[in-house]
Symmetry: C2
Amino acid sequence: MDKKIVIVGLGLIGGSMAKAFKEYTDYTVCGIDTDKNVLKSAVECGAIDKIGNNEDIKSADIIYLCLYPKADIDFVNSHADLIPSNCIVTDTCGIKSEICAHLPIIAKEHGFTFIGGHPMAGKEKSGFYASEAELFAGASYIIVPCGAPRKAIDLLTVISVKLGFGGTVITTPEHHDRMIAFTSQLPHVLACAYVMSPCCKEHVGYSAGSYRDVSRVANINEKLWTELFTDNKKSLVKELDILINNITDIKNAVENCDDNLLRELLKKGRLIKEGLGE
Amino acid sequence: MDKKIVIVGLGLIGGSMAKAFKEYTDYTVCGIDTDKNVLKSAVECGAIDKIGNNEDIKSADIIYLCLYPKADIDFVNSHADLIPSNCIVTDTCGIKSEICAHLPIIAKEHGFTFIGGHPMAGKEKSGFYASEAELFAGASYIIVPCGAPRKAIDLLTVISVKLGFGGTVITTPEHHDRMIAFTSQLPHVLACAYVMSPCCKEHVGYSAGSYRDVSRVANINEKLWTELFTDNKKSLVKELDILINNITDIKNAVENCDDNLLRELLKKGRLIKEGLGE
């Protein structure tokens, strides 16, 4: 059955969602963005069927919010009256507690369904022109139900398979944000902190895979990540404290030339990594 | 002209050197190792022409030391009387100050040439069975001349091209170790410290490229890296202090919800990374 998909925000994630929907489904894809050039390009390259308007929102089956967290909430607030009761509204933000504190309430008041979502994919470049249909290939799609009915969750799962995701995980906003602080936010903090060493500018010729991997995501979108970090302050600060303590333990063992302790600490890291079968 | 190459230690690096010599040159390759099974396998798979003995050392053109730092020094000490005066002895260790404080002196006393070397390649697995001829493809080969004649340095450069390296860099032991503390040792400390978070064991489904990249080298050989870290204590501790301070600055900005400062810090990281054209 044909469905109408409205994608709000055609950046890296929204643009890639649009392209993936066009590539892998027969659904009608409407795109909304404040940048007219992006909308024009999206129509021209076939990433969307049409530029979305209020009428499309009124007849949408699913609305994917692909803006920054606060902008997603603002968009739903200002368009809630238009959203039909059989519509699923879902987001793609990197944090969930803030989104899930607001959108399920608005959804309930207006009779539509809200489900939090987080496609675990990205790249070092942002914006529509970096988007691609294959961005989600094999990636995890995290679903945060917020009390939504099973049928709606199943539909998002079915769609995630069509779009190429490798599997879904269902969890709470709090658990999501605690895990993301570790798996995603910490590496982004690290990358920025790492390249600030005065040695960084001279690295060519002295570096290989280790440098490349730790520094990769230093090419950060500081506006987006500032919002993601402060919205997840508690979990991120906790993970940063754990990391700083663990680095400091290793540093002290090196500084004291305590070979036995240093070997034990490194072995502990190795055993954890090996225990994961990685 | 045919040359006799003696490789001491057929682990990941020595084994890969042997295989690369056999794959890309016509030189005669002799292998020395304390593990008889490794020697047998190396002969059987054609990684070496023969098991090396004292006679081979007496007629070697180049000896590649591929043991741990202290073991390299011990090997040269106990075989110095056998090494001919036209022979180049070079190592492959990840740190250079310690090696270069000893081996050039022994070389001078016995009339042979010593040149420090560091092939900037590796992988998450160690040992002969993980070795491969292509390990050095495109990698940087760092040469630390320690006063060796230009002709000998040129020969190692010519060989590095034959073995598939992407380019050579010539520097001092001190500069090498300062750079390696940043480019290689810091990411290894980080990987071990990172996986120690209680969240790590639950990461599947919540992680993507950022987790994979930072944790990759946690599969560490703790015996080797304990020696490399403590031998480079001064530079490594300095880099760890810089990193801890930079992480702490970002953490404080998050904790204080200081959006302006946080954006500025992340932007600083981005501009450094972009400035490198990466």
